[in-house]
Symmetry: C2
């Protein structure tokens, strides 16, 4: 990594998560010059967090001679509203109520700051640097602890009239199904297709299992989607069927989404996608089964090509 | 109706349906100068249909001195593709395969002709002349023999990348539910919430009924959604519960749609909506129950304000 750069157009991308906040200095071409992370929870409030972020980023800006070239700071965060620049009632952050984060960061750094929802930022990253490059219409589904979505329509992110469009994880796919741990809604996509949902499915299947499974060695909270993945990779039948069940539900939901916006592709992203074909193949089959004739074979289901760690900071850098 | 008009900007709107084709000469303000209809099925093929339409419209154009003022002809039709100007594999028309109707009409009349899907045209009518006037983001659901949809995003109709976005009637709302008579898909919105679906629900409920119902006087195909409506208006409990069941499913589906595009309103239109509050009230309750907190109370469910007969021809006139 060069300590000087010929780039005259640099951005800072920030991926603000419940546990970690990752940041990087990034060129217009998406080259990461240098990156780092802080623990979001180490800061008691948003003002302290902004100060902490500044303390980390200032040496990095100076080292790369970036001051005059810095176009701005883009931040992806949960419950962030692009229209207002606020984080609103975040479930997974210490800071409650409404935090005007974009303004706070802009005031502290003296440059433009743009805030946006994390799934929309990931979609922006995919659109600029990933498999959705040059696509005008696609849907990005993020499968992590929760299920998020970022939707591109005619080359632009869909915001709807309140800035909060694309809550596809909360759509119902199983009437009167599993109760969601946080929203209380029944049978939503997130209840089944998130890492959290996969762990619940594994527990349920294990309780009713008539076959031996390595999953039984994991007790309580140890039975994570990661554990299911590890067992599935060793050929464990029950673990494989957990992903098959999840993929089948996911594919049905994706067909519903496709019938709304008729996209060129649906891109799947996030920790759950480490399972690869274990979830993608049943999803693909179920997806096609639930489409009408004129849609069949027309819409690609794609695994994101972005590095899981970098997608959000790359996308965030494109906000400015 | 004046035989002369000061309007210098006239359009012809055509609503091409499986049974009837309605047409009208319309001003830019949406005033219908004169209208008429022909039987779509009276013509053996599309060429004969275009000739028949010309024979009807020519005297009307001459009578209103409209020749030099005619901006063009807009047509709403089932299975019509705005991108191509073709009617593609229409299920309810005699003309199969692909019919380049826009070109045929344009060649015959010597003016511009724009073709579009019937539900999108109804949405355009609602956006120009109805309750969705000045709304940039709304979803129009047409509840007739089938269930169609026209979606507005940022002030424009959503087409997707193949021109066929907005097939919301074919989304799944009851996993492994009722098999659709035409698509073979299970548990789709159209299977339950169309007039056809309502008649099936009535038959099923009647078979399992433990209460007396006036519905039992209707045999076979006589048991239509219209019959259910008539009985419900006379206070028949079973008929009322048919609409309650339908509205509850509809509301759940509408919540799914809302979570995609975060619209200002969802507008309900079509013959089924003659039932008014019988269907709207349970739909409203179920809709709100299936939304996440940040969406609750934010999105209006509206009954279309357009005359059922005129909405499509008015919308079609706005295509040009």
């Amino acid at each position: 990594m060069a300590t000087d750069t010929k780039d005259t157009d640099l951005r800072i991308g920030v991926d603000l998560g419940g546990t970690n906040t990752k940041y990087a200095l990034i060129t217009a071409d998406g080259d990461i010059l240098e990156k780092g992370r802080i623990k979001t929870g180490d800061y008691p409030d948003a003002a302290a967090f902004v100060d902490g972020l500044y303390d980390q980023l200032l040496p990095l800006i100076e080292k790369h001679n970036a001051k005059g070239k810095l176009k701005g700071i883009g931040i992806g965060a949960p419950n962030a509203n692009f229209f207002t620049g606020n984080i609103e009632h975040a479930v997974n952050l210490k800071w409650k109520a409404i935090v005007p984060l974009a303004k706070m960061v802009s005031d502290k750094f003296g440059v433009k700051c743009v805030l946006n929802n994390d799934a929309k930022v990931a979609a922006l990253g995919e659109h600029t640097f990933g498999v959705a490059k040059d696509m005008t219409d696609f849907i990005m589904i993020t499968l992590g602890t929760g299920v998020g979505s970022g939707i591109f329509i005619n080359g632009n992110i869909l915001y709807g009239c309140r800035g909060n469009a694309g809550e596809l994880g909360h759509t119902v796919i199983r009437h009167n199904g599993r109760v969601h741990w946080s929203t209380g809604l029944k049978g939503t996509v997130e209840s089944y297709c998130s890492a959290t949902g996969i762990a619940i499915t594994a527990k349920e299947m294990l309780e009713n299992a008539e076959i031996e499974s390595q999953l039984s060695q994991y007790k309580g909270d140890e039975l994570t989607s990661k554990a299911v993945y590890d067992c599935a990779m060793k050929g464990d039948e029950l673990a494989i069927s957990v992903f098959k069940f999840t993929g089948t539900i996911l594919g049905e939901a994706l067909a519903n989404f496709a019938l709304f916006s008729s996209p060129e592709a649906i891109v799947l992203f996030g920790g759950v996608m480490r399972a690869g074909d274990l979830i993608l193949k049943p999803a693909q089959q179920s997806f096609e089964e639930h489409l009408i004739e004129s849609y069949k074979g027309q819409i690609k289901l794609l695994d994101s090509s972005l590095n899981l760690d970098d997608a959000a900071i790359l996308g965030a850098s494109r906000l400015v």
